[in-house]
């Protein structure tokens, strides 16, 4: 059922073009500020911590752990798990956990990025590692 799901096409902008181009290569990017050293996600041109514009792209290992999740057992598109995961590189991000038995998910569980196709660039989700 999960695989039959139709995901919305991401609407890119100049700030996120590189992110979506990398996604097409199966790579998850985040940004780091070279002024204060902090990594952040979602990626933006201006550092959310020190407001410097010296932010650069880095590739994530795609490895993460589940910070928390919630199961939506009924929805028009079928059951799904919304979650926050924390990347090995530091930042946490909101996502869905896919391709798994929803009832077996646990906080602290290791997950890895998986991209799901859309009519445009693919969307990053996570699945048990």
């Amino acid at each position: 059922m999960a695989d039959a799901k139709k995901y919305p096409t991401p609407q890119g902008n100049p700030e996120t073009t590189q992110f979506w181009e990398a996604a097409k290569q199966g790579k998850l990017l985040f940004k780091r500020c070279t002024a204060c050293g902090e990594p952040h996600y979602f990626p933006r041109s201006i550092c959310p911590f020190c407001f410097s514009d010296k932010t650069v792209w880095e590739e994530s290992s795609g490895e993460a752990t589940i910070y928390t999740f919630s199961l939506m057992r009924k929805s028009a598109a079928g059951p799904f798990a919304i979650a926050y995961v924390t990347l090995k590189e530091g930042p946490s991000l909101q996502t869905n956990i896919v391709d798994c038995e929803l009832d077996k998910l646990k906080i602290g569980q290791k997950v890895k990025v998986v991209f799901k196709p859309t009519d445009g660039a693919p969307l990053p989700f996570f699945t048990p590692a």
């Binding site: 996600y41 979602f42 959310p48 911590f49 910070y67 930042p91 946490s92």
Partner: protein, 185 residues
């Protein structure tokens, strides 16, 4: 799903000078303290969803008003979901962190029974959430209580001090909280 109802509706408040307010032949209500705060996920750093920006907006409002949560006779608290209320009761100081469930289960929110009569219009969970805007009706019911114009079955006797508090986007990327303390003049 324990989620607020979706309704049509609306509201309005008149904020005016003390002189004009006195000419309106209604019991007077004034705001004596307020606080606002934001808490986004900060680029994903040190994510902690166990507390809200109410931990800052609440104390600021109480400090400005010069009162404490124990002094409050009535509370309007935004109630998009049950958990929203539990977190806000804890975050703005009506009970200790982690004790919101017990505070509510003990009947404290029921007018005429508990320590903190709450959302006596039914709130978002039982009465209204006009077009996804739940804040206006919270302030309106607080003003009704302070004027003595709430429904007789839920009117708090001698209600002279109330709080109205709202949050939004707690799990998203643009969470904020706002608290105001209202007093019968």
């Amino acid at each position: 799903m324990d989620c607020c109802v979706v309704t049509d509706g609306g509201g309005a408040l008149i904020v005016t000078t003390p002189e004009i307010a006195k000419s309106l032949k209604k019991p007077l209500v004034r705001m004596i303290g307020h606080g606002e705060a934001m808490k986004g996920p900060r680029g994903g750093k040190d994510l902690d969803l166990t507390y809200s920006a109410g931990v800052w907006s609440g104390p600021r409002a109480f400090e400005e008003a010069g009162v404490t949560p124990k002094d409050i006779k009535y509370a309007s608290i935004y109630d998009s979901f049950t958990i929203t209320v539990l977190m806000q009761l804890e975050d703005i100081g009506f009970c200790k962190k982690g004790e919101g469930g017990k505070f509510v289960a003990d009947g404290n929110l029921i007018s005429g029974v508990g320590k903190l009569p709450f959302n006596t219009d039914g709130g978002g969970l039982c009465s209204n959430h006009p077009v996804n805007r739940g804040g206006m009706t919270k302030i309106i019911e607080a003003v009704r209580q302070l004027r003595g114009e709430a429904h007789p079955k839920v009117q708090v006797p001698n209600c002279d001090l109330a709080v109205a508090h709202g949050t939004g986007g707690l799990l998203g990327v643009r969470h904020a909280a706002s608290t105001c303390i209202l007093e019968r003049a």
